[in-house]
């Protein structure tokens, strides 16, 4: 099984109930109004949003004639929506600073735990910065991850100024020649002006040590998120320079369709996906695989064609 096996497993149930119809529908050569409407409904049910879904349908109408089967057309269209050239974080002039941001409860700290595993395994020396100084025991949660991963841990305890912690961590990494710093920020709703200002301040202070930092700003979005995900991405983008999305909790039944809208509207690439709670459950994002998993088309290819 491919690297998506876990996600596939999770997606299986809904995929079968919801996308079985798509597969059935698309086996037909002709796309009549009713079929198209049904496909649109199914796309909306993935949280893609009405606008993006109708856009996909328009394209499908236009392009399906050029393919042997409409499902191939649909796959290509969805793929194109998600496809963006992007690079995985590369350490050129260490330390590379990665800031992880997002609204409350999306899985930032867990994602950081998984990211550090990835980086440590690549032979990097990692520093974790406990800048979520607001939520109870968030510092402790990150400390546990740093212990497990053998990463350095920089903290000033709960209630400390997060910008000061970030400054500390980046300075520490620079002077001790560490490779990567990952900053864990507190979950914040994009509607809270003062919290967004606080985030900007963290980044400003980091720049004092390394002008190009943070090199990566990853926005963590929960796959269960509905249309608010697009608003979140917009607002976070306005505040800081988002370089990529991490889409978490794809091991559930939610399909994370909101990333289609985010990539399409805002042009931010999806870089990683979270497919479970275990330390290994973070995968680099692959558009084609994501679409296959979403539509459940690999079975179609195996069994029905």
């Amino acid at each position: 099984m491919g690297i998506f096996s876990k996600m596939k497993l999770g997606l299986k149930k809904t995929r079968e109930s919801i996308f079985k119809q798509v597969r059935k529908l698309l086996k037909f050569k002709k796309l009549d109004e009713e079929t198209l409407e049904e496909i649109e409904e199914l796309l909306i049910t993935s949280d893609m949003g009405v606008e993006t879904a109708s856009d996909v349908i328009e394209q499908l109408k236009e392009k399906s004639g050029d393919y042997d089967s409409p499902i191939e057309a649909l796959k290509d269209i969805l793929n194109d929506l998600l496809k963006m050239n992007h690079t995985e974080p590369i350490v050129e002039n260490p330390p590379l600073v990665i800031s992880v941001v997002g609204v409350n409860g999306t899985g930032k700290t867990t994602t950081i735990g998984k990211l550090s595993k990835l980086f440590v395994e690549q032979g990097n020396r990692v520093v974790l910065a406990a800048c979520d100084t607001f939520r109870a025991a968030a510092v402790e949660q990150l400390r546990l991850w740093s212990e497990r991963m053998g990463a350095d841990f920089i903290s000033q305890g709960q209630g400390a100024d997060p910008a000061a912690v970030a400054f500390d961590a980046v300075s520490h990494a620079k002077s001790k020649s560490k490779d990567i710093v990952i900053i864990d920020t507190a979950g914040r709703l994009h509607t809270k002006h003062n919290l967004m200002e606080e985030l900007k301040k963290i980044h400003r202070v980091v720049k004092k040590v390394i002008p190009e930092a943070p090199h990566e700003v990853l926005l963590v979005i929960d796959a269960t998120t509905g249309q608010n995900g697009l608003v979140q991405a917009k607002k976070f983008m306005d505040a800081v320079e988002i370089t990529g999305i991490v889409l978490t909790k794809l091991d559930g039944t939610a399909k994370g369709g909101i990333v289609f809208a985010i990539v399409k509207e805002l042009g931010i690439p999806v870089k990683y996906i979270g497919v479970g709670e275990a330390i290994d459950d973070l995968k680099p994002f692959d558009a084609a695989e994501f679409v296959e998993a979403l539509l459940g088309t690999e079975e179609l290819e195996e069994n029905e064609v």
């Binding site: 949280d47 939520r135 968030a138 402790e140 949660q141 998120t225 608010n228």
Partner: protein
């Protein structure tokens, strides 16, 4: 896109004159608009379809009130129906056992631990003795999180062996009984509804505790999948209700309608801040505008409605003063009452109001009453005393009813008239209560 549609709709409103009855054709725009708006708010697709279908069925054929366009009236009906579906009142916790047990469940990161502490703080404020129980042994530092929150609000936190949820909750109950605690709140680990092993654990805990309340904590930003998780949790645990968190953001919160629709269980509280005091009882009427969107249209509708009500109330008041309350006013009266709820309830609230008056039949049979009154001549409506046997026969025939029905209407009218008289004469006592009411 949203704004655009709203503009379009407002323009559409202006071009249609508000006459006739609601038909599928004359509310097409509004139906589309409402559907889109609900989808934008993240109400589940199937739920939107079913909800709109129900409302449409109810609305079709209804008279369009003057001053409203069919579209406007339909949206008004949608709003009223939304309030009805979400439950008209806020539903309080039902805590009968001693100690009372509340179990918090939900997906990862929805806000269970924070909400547990918020609830504990609320009970403590009411003077109750509370115990928090940390039954999330999986997520790193989850226990510490609850301990810290407990410290903040000065509520003890039971942690037991920090390893076995079932043992922890059992021991916690022993402790609670020993210390004569009033309310025990169990914070469980976040989990996926499709994780059978973890769902099984919850079932076992619930079986062991027999909680008074099992509350599922749901993030207001959740999209289409909320119906799946809510349904699964409800099927596994027989939830008693929901807490919807993070409503301090700008998510439209359509999830509230979705989860209510698929489980029938009420939302009991909402989370409106990260802080400990950020928890409020849920009042449906305060969120329908947010879920439905269409703010401009709704406030326009409210304005029109207010005007209608005020004008009518004023006219009726004048008529009473002159003792000129006729059958047409009576019909209007019934219509207004129907909108406000049962007159029986109303009378209950007024000390010293005559209790014997039976108007319930008049309310129930509004449609027939309307038919009967509209089969009368203008003269008869103005002066009901002139209605004799042969006139009654004609009216019954014309309205497709019988003499008993006609008599019933006339009797109700008499009763209301005399009740009004009585109330009028006690004006000093009642006038305040009746201000704003349509009589």
């Amino acid at each position: 896109m949203f704004e655009n549609l709203q503009e379009k709709l407002t323009r559409a409103f202006k071009s249609i004159s508000g006459k006739g009855r609601i038909s599928e054709k004359n509310i097409k725009d509004a139906v589309r608009q409402v559907k889109l708006s609900l989808l934008e708010a993240d109400v589940n697709f199937k739920v939107v379809k079913e909800f709109i279908k129900d409302v449409q069925e109810k609305a079709l054929g209804e008279d369009v009130l003057s001053s409203f366009t069919p579209d406007q009236q339909f949206i008004k009906i949608v709003r009223d129906e939304l309030i009805r579906v979400l439950g008209e009142k806020s539903v309080p916790l039902s805590l009968s056992s001693k100690p009372a047990k509340i179990m918090m469940v939900g997906l990862q990161g929805s806000g269970k631990t924070t909400t547990s502490a918020k609830l504990a703080a609320r009970f403590k404020k009411e003077g109750k003795k509370v115990l928090l129980v940390a039954a999330d042994v999986y997520r790193p530092a989850a226990i510490d999180q609850l301990i810290q929150l407990g410290k903040q609000i000065d509520v003890p936190v039971f942690v037991g062996d920090r390893q076995h949820p079932l043992k922890i909750v059992t021991k916690a109950m022993e402790e609670a009984i020993k210390n004569i605690v009033d309310v025990v709140i169990f914070d469980t680990a976040g989990r996926l509804h499709i994780d059978e092993k973890m769902m099984d654990e919850l079932k076992k805990i619930a079986g062991q505790l027999d909680p008074d309340e099992i509350l599922m904590v749901v993030d207001a930003m959740t999209g289409q999948d909320a119906v799946n998780s809510a349904k699964s949790f409800n099927e596994a645990l027989e939830l008693t209700g929901f807490v919807v968190t993070k409503l301090d953001g700008d998510a439209r919160g359509g999830v509230i309608l979705s989860i209510r629709h698929v489980t029938g269980k009420p939302v009991k509280f909402i989370g409106i801040s990260e802080k400990i005091d950020g928890l409020e009882p849920f009042y449906p009427d305060r969120v329908v505008g947010r879920i439905l969107g269409m703010g401009d249209v709704l406030s326009l509708i409210d304005k029109i409605q207010q005007n209608i009500d005020m004008e009518k109330a004023k006219k009726l008041e004048e008529k009473f003063a002159k003792n000129k309350f006729d059958l047409e006013d009576f019909l209007e009266q019934l219509r207004q009452i129907k909108k406000m709820g049962s007159i029986g309830d109303l009378m209950e609230m007024i000390p010293g109001a005559p209790k014997e008056v039976d108007l319930s039949s008049g309310e129930k049979n509004l449609k027939r009453t309307e038919a009967i009154i509209s089969s009368m001549t203008k003269e008869e409506r103005k002066n009901p005393k002139m209605i004799n046997y042969s006139r009654k026969l004609r009216i019954a025939k014309g309205s497709g009813t019988n003499l008993t029905e006609v008599n019933r209407v006339l009797k109700s009218y008499d009763q209301m008239k005399s009740m009004m008289k009585a109330l009028n004469s006690k004006k000093s006592k009642f006038s305040k209560l009746f201000k704003g009411l349509p009589f």
